[in-house]
């Protein structure tokens, strides 16, 4: 009680001093601090942005340089003469047409089948009542903890025995079911009120029609995310295709471009086999990267949303 009185009666108490501060000075200092800190933050962020973007920039300008210019002692930050030929060479030398067709085919087919399987499974888990539903789902989730390499070993032996090596089947079938996608879509389906399902049942809607007319439209954003992730997965997959395909005609983009021989000598230039014709290689990389970039530009929202829930690349 006496302490409270002290504060009130003592004019030198801390609370009073704060009020008596020179408001103008404080305001000015506040502004300066704010401007400085914002500037530092922006500089930091812009430097990071430069670091992030630099490889892309370097890829593009290198792909437009001549080999001679690329090898300048002091590099040029912009090509002296823009050479689009590298792209043509990359396309033919890298047999990118075959790679693109293969990858698109594998990507599309596996995405479509994968979507169908995912939708059916997620619907069963989210809406249908059957014995063992929860147990089965728990088991499925548990398998997500196991690293894929553990499956790969046996699957590799399995597809060998099935004689699937160097076929499209081997690139598509083993990865059609993704427990993660089922989980993602099931969660989304569960957010749709069950009354909609009951209402549809009263109206005589069959399960499949309900799925098609109500569930799928309402879960479309998730389905788009899944589609993109799956396509990206096909586009970026390297290990499995590398194991199960050896023929050039069956290669996917990533294997193809890694294994392509862009050395200077292979293209009739002078130099050893270890000397890579970087401009051409960079052109090939640019071509391969372009589709993902374009998709990203248009579907940024879906990709970022899907990724933020997945954490799995591809």
């Amino acid at each position: 009680m006496s302490e409270v009185k002290n504060v009130n009666t003592n004019p030198e108490g801390t609370i009073t001093t704060m009020v008596e501060r020179d408001i103008k000075k404080v305001t000015a200092r506040q502004k300066v601090v704010k401007v400085i800190s914002q500037t530092i933050i922006y500089i930091f962020l812009l430097i990071i942005a430069l670091v992030v973007l630099f490889p892309f920039y370097w890829m593009i300008i290198s792909s437009l340089k001549s080999l001679t210019e690329y090898r300048y002692n002091i590099p040029t930050l912009f090509p002296e003469k823009i050479l689009f030929e590298n792209y043509l060479v990359a396309f033919t030398e890298g047999k990118l047409d075959v790679l693109f067709v293969n990858t698109l085919y594998v990507g599309l087919v596996s995405t479509i089948f994968s979507l169908v399987i995912t939708v059916l499974s997620a619907f069963a888990f989210a809406r249908l009542e059957f014995k063992g539903r929860e147990t089965l789902f728990a088991i499925l989730l548990a398998t997500m903890m196991i690293p894929g390499e553990l499956f790969t070993i046996t699957n590799y032996s399995t597809v060998h025995k099935l004689g699937w090596i160097n076929t499209y089947t081997v690139l598509i079938v083993p990865f059609l079911v993704s427990v993660f996608y089922i989980y993602l879509l099931k969660q989304n389906f569960l957010q749709i009120p069950n009354e909609l399902y009951l209402a549809a049942k009263v109206d005589g809607t069959t399960d499949l029609k309900y799925l098609w007319k109500v569930m799928i439209p309402l879960a479309l954003p998730t389905l788009i995310s899944i589609t993109i992730l799956k396509m990206m997965g096909s586009w970026n997959s390297y290990m499995w295709p590398n194991l199960v395909t050896s023929k050039d005609s069956m290669m996917l983009v990533t294997n193809g471009i890694r294994n392509a021989n862009f050395s200077v000598s292979a293209m009739g230039g002078e130099g050893s086999a270890a000397d890579i014709n970087y401009p051409v290689q960079m052109a090939a990389v640019a071509i391969v990267s372009a589709p993902l970039f374009i998709v990203f530009l248009f579907l940024r929202k879906y990709i970022m949303k899907g990724v933020s829930r997945s954490g799995i690349k591809g």
């Binding site: 992030v52 790969t152 970026n236 990533t254 990267s289 990203f296 690349k313």
Partner: protein, 340 residues
Amino acid sequence: MANESVATKSYPLYEARKKVGAFLRKIKFDHWKGWIYLSPAIVLLLIFTAWPIFNTVRFAFLEKYSSLADLNPDITFEFGLGNFQYVLEYQYFKDCLFNTIILCVLTVPISTFLALLIAVCLNSIKALSRFLQTIYFLPYVTNSIAIGMVFAAMFNIVGLNRADINASTSLGIVNNIIQFFGGTPINWINAGSGYWENIFVMVVYIVWNALPFKILILLGGLQSVNKQYYDAAKIDSTPKWRVFTNITVPLLSPMIAYVVITGFIGGFKEYSSIVGIFGDTMGPPGAKGRLNTMVGYIYDAINGSTKQYGRASAAAIILFLIIFAVTLVNLQVSKKKTHY
């Protein structure tokens, strides 16, 4: 809507429908429907997920099991721990394990810290925020092998193995930048390069690649934090670093735990980024396999002319156990450090 039409509406198919309905109820169709919908998934999962779990464990305990078994069904394999013993005593496997751990231990903290810093900064600005967010996300939508090749080009010294080292030789843009600031160029990834130089390049590339996901998650977490905490801190004139350590980090701890755990899991499966930079030789010219990882070891084992399924399986199980243990430890730590 007249009363009459309601009353006179006829239902001619009633009897037939009733019978079908009763039949379906009798066989409890509703209990089977779920399984029918799940059947495609279950068939595929049985073949490509359930069977492999069992079979890979079996392989691991069949000593020296390899693809020879396919050629000659009469060969029998002893049951035992031989594969594990072989793998764990094998120097090359130990090197692979070491590489994997080194890359994990270096890249996960660096990328997490950087991502946190970037996310906090992004969250504190208004202009350009969305634009920068998009830029930071770009590395995610790249093919990690293709862009690895770009990094290789940036670090590569062209023509070092040619007689004429001068006029037409580029040291690589990274060395050029080092020279610009007055440093000495370094042999990063070419023949004769050192191990730690190689690791440095890998760390740079992996961190560059790992940032987008971490920034996305952490920024999402930051944006969902109630602004009132910050307002309260402001009124109490809390200094910025204290806001960061005492408010931001604790509130963000679930997300930080998440990116660290997924980071470690991804880190232990590191493979394709090394292929991107060094090719499937997994090392600079003249030092083949120097940077190989656990996953790389597994692939090499089953990709050889004799497919060493047994050893690969043993290695895969060791990898699984390590990931499992690390995840458990991470969860335990984050449980203690997570504040809500």
